[in-house]
């Protein structure tokens, strides 16, 4: 344990972390640092290794190799210190179903030697939304309310670092937006947040992100930088027959990749000579009608697909 680290600007530091389950490599040589007060996103699909990483950092399981430091403390040697300091909201709802909303909150406050009153400021905005149901058992709450209660319980001891493992999975788009609003507010209180999500559109709400797939980080950077590093030309294409359009675009030899994106298809182009007009001519020949093609800025999802195919 190195006391001077406590005041450093680094809230989380991970060096060469690997974890195997039998022959399956859940995490392979993970390296990253999270600065104090940052919202850092771990973005990737189920099974990529997100939860394993969270469990290592919250001292619930041991890595096979590598070291990690949270809030200045080593996850192995100083695990007791870390447990006092961090808040953790696991992916699976893990509060006591047969305790009421209020009882859960009091319980977690007591476990951490504090009271709800002491840190009420921190959770007030979130808790007032579920307060009308404070006498209801946690097991009887809806998904959105469970999420708010779990966040309140993870915050009640004023943690320095907050770990949120897929807090918005299965949550509708409106509630997801609200949730990210709450995280922004917590950030202004100086809390460092490590958050994982399979929703690529949430990536831009983070200060920095790591894209993870098959236990490896594909990239770590700000969402803006990741987008600006996208190398190919990217066009959005639509026509009256979207299904045929997808097949035709994929068959085109200038196409590097082509994927459906809502009401348009995104196509990345290999060749710098090939122009939008060239493509339009080809599509007209293939009898497409009402063709619209425009050059677009890639989204994080475009970048993820590009990187994961390398």
């Amino acid at each position: 344990m190195d006391i001077k680290n406590i005041n450093s600007d680094i809230a989380i530091s991970c060096k060469s972390i690997s974890k195997k389950y039998g022959r399956i490599e859940a995490l392979n040589d993970i390296n990253f640092e999270v600065s104090r007060g940052e919202i850092f996103g771990i973005i990737g699909p189920d099974g990529a290794g997100k939860t394993t990483l969270f469990r290592i950092l919250t001292t619930l399981i041991l890595a096979n190799a590598g070291t990690a430091v949270v809030d200045g403390f080593d996850v192995v040697a100083d695990y007791k210190e870390i447990r006092k300091r961090v808040g953790y909201m696991p992916g699976r709802f893990s509060l006591y179903q047969d305790l009421t909303v209020e009882e859960n909150l009091n319980f977690f406050a007591t476990v951490f030697n504090t009271t709800v009153a002491e840190n009420y400021d921190l959770i007030k905005d979130i808790y007032v939304q579920i307060e009308p149901f404070k006498k209801r058992r946690a097991g009887k709450l809806s998904g959105g309310m469970k999420q708010k209660l779990a966040l309140s319980c993870a915050l009640i001891h004023k943690p320095s670092v907050l770990f949120l493992d897929e807090p918005t999975t299965g949550v509708d788009p409106v509630s997801r937006k609200e949730f990210w609003g709450m995280l922004k507010k917590l950030k202004t209180q100086g809390i460092t947040i490590l958050v994982s999500t399979p929703y690529m559109d949430e990536a831009t709400l983070c200060d920095r992100i790591a894209l993870i797939q098959n236990g490896e980080f594909l990239k770590i950077d700000t969402p803006k930088n990741i987008i600006s590093q996208y190398k190919n030309k990217l066009w959005a294409v639509e026509s009256d027959n979207m299904h045929k359009l997808l097949i035709d675009l994929r068959a085109n030899e200038m196409t590097k990749n082509c994927f459906a994106f809502g009401d348009k298809h995104h196509i990345s182009i290999n060749n710098s000579q090939f122009t939008i007009n060239n493509l339009r001519d080809e599509l007209v020949k293939l009898e497409h009608t009402n063709i619209l093609i425009s050059e677009i800025e890639p989204s994080v999802e475009d970048c993820f697909m590009e990187l994961s195919q390398r």
């Binding site: 149901f133 809806s142 797939q213 299904h243 994927f259 459906a260 809502g262 999802e301 697909m305």
Partner: protein, 254 residues
Amino acid sequence: MNNTTQHTTNKVIIAENLTKKFGNFTAVDNISFEVERGEIFGFLGANGAGKTTAMRMLCGLSIPTGGTGEVAGYDIGTQTELVKKNIGYMSQKFSLYDDLKVWENIELFAGIYGMKDKEIKTKTDELMSVLNFESERNKLVGSLPLGFKQKLAFSVSIFHNPQVVFLDEPTGGVDPITRRQFWELIYDATSRGITIFVTTHYMDEAEYCDRVSIMVDGRIEALDSPKNLKKQFDAKNMDEVFQQLARKAKRVDS
């Protein structure tokens, strides 16, 4: 298994004033809509809007307290077993048995739906080659990556050739490439005349549906093609449509 007379109508789902009350709470409040054969119908709504309750009624798992409905030609109030025989169902939470092999899962579900051994065998071979799954045939489903699993689960849910398949958030947590491949499987199924009824929280997927309904507080607040909905709500995309409608919800999400 299917009674051919049931195929004469082109409406695979008909809901008329469908209602479900739990005590004095109205989970589904008088909803009416129809789904055409071969259509991809997106069923959207915020958490707690009543989607799951409505879907359970359409699958013959919950009896309506008001209104009527017909699925695959059978009454959802009185012919629930026939409804169940003629539909497929898949959700993110429950799909296949992890501790059975790929072929065992197929045989189990196909057997439950009353398919003959010989037919199961030929169709399994076919499916393995279409999905490029030959080398996975003898693997435990639990050892497959999630994306594989979900593609397989969907294929199993339509293996008995149901008239309509209900998909409850089938792509949650799936990586972006597999998510798109999954939708290509959906398109293939519709080209074989199977009707798709799907819920999702990914608004880009709402754009892939022929028509979309959006539930707010137990009622259907909007129902049209994505194109028309965007026009109607003066929105750039379906996410904006959804945000406008779902924010009107008064019911406390409970």
